[in-house]
Symmetry: C2
Subunit: 192 residues, 2 copies
Amino acid sequence: MPRASAAAAARTAQQVLDAATDLFAARGFAAVSLDDVARAAGVTRGAVYHHYGNKAGLFRAVAARLQARVADSVVEAAEHAGADPRARLGAGSHAFLDAITSGPAVRVLLVDAPAVLGWREWRELDAENSGTHLRDALRAMGVDDDLLGALTAQLSGAMNDAALWIAEHEDGTRTRQQAHAALDRLLAAVAP
Amino acid sequence: MPRASAAAAARTAQQVLDAATDLFAARGFAAVSLDDVARAAGVTRGAVYHHYGNKAGLFRAVAARLQARVADSVVEAAEHAGADPRARLGAGSHAFLDAITSGPAVRVLLVDAPAVLGWREWRELDAENSGTHLRDALRAMGVDDDLLGALTAQLSGAMNDAALWIAEHEDGTRTRQQAHAALDRLLAAVAP
DNA sequence: CTCCTTACGTACACTGTGCATGTAAGACTC
DNA sequence: GAGTCTTACATGCACAGTGTACGTAAGGAG
């Protein structure tokens, strides 16, 4: 008994995506079955497979949306910081930390994504979003082209682990401040 | 038809561990079945379950052994570097990069481990090994206690992503040199 | 109004985990 | 050194979960 208009179909796809985001964030990829997702979204597994192909495809869609949201925050913060490259780098980096630690992004993007999508695809997804901004910011700071790739990867890794470190503790603003302070220390290595 | 002496049992446990290490490194945790492991080790799944409890337990054993090996390299390099805290920090960090990128450790420890064991347990495993050494080295460098936790996590993350970056490229010594150079840049932020 | 396509629902096959049970060979006791 | 216990596996089965083939009804285009 399917009743499908173009709008209704888009809505069910959204509901599935929302439900999957919550469940993946709460329990992790492996502990969530597609039946769980379908039930939470009020449909059957058939609908999930129709819209997302397979379980990895659903996860990919979830991760891509979260990644895009984080990247939006980074861009907005950088815009707001003006034209000075160093100010933009700092603002974007701190915005990244705050954005990725608020909401369900950490577990999905930083714990499960590399294993589910593979490191390579995960890196590409990152490169299409916040990764590019970091790289551009470092280039604008005058980082040698030879070091650019490696330094981008390492600073990105530092921020990711900072986010995980914050999420692990989960006891208010103190650890968050420490993470931001440590990040400033590392950024100073690039721009004194 | 079991024929089990104490020595023979230890040997089969070893064979299973060796086979699992190779397979997990080559295909990833999810794509390896316990039947694959058992067949590669020349036993049945019963033996695997007997020694390691379940699939996660087997993976835990694999990861712990790899982690311990990496930590050994770090310690050895630090010892060899003498008494100067800065020299020990640098030597240990670069040794970490080289050790974790040589052999099957990268995929197991950095891609699958967080998802399979959970971020928390993975962090504890790391803390029991190379993580402690990094923290000690930073403390010896006079890093403020308030920053110690966050900075350790972020530098660790930077090194992990440096390792993944090296493993991703896999084209000889050039990328490796770039990674080491970028790492030096970050270490300079802690110790000028 | 007809036909085609989209959007699901349903049923089934297959893979893989984990556990329960069986069993034979050390190891230990006397 | 015979009996008993425990360890070290092998085997078989139950169950969960994925993916896919098929069925089906409701838009939408002509």
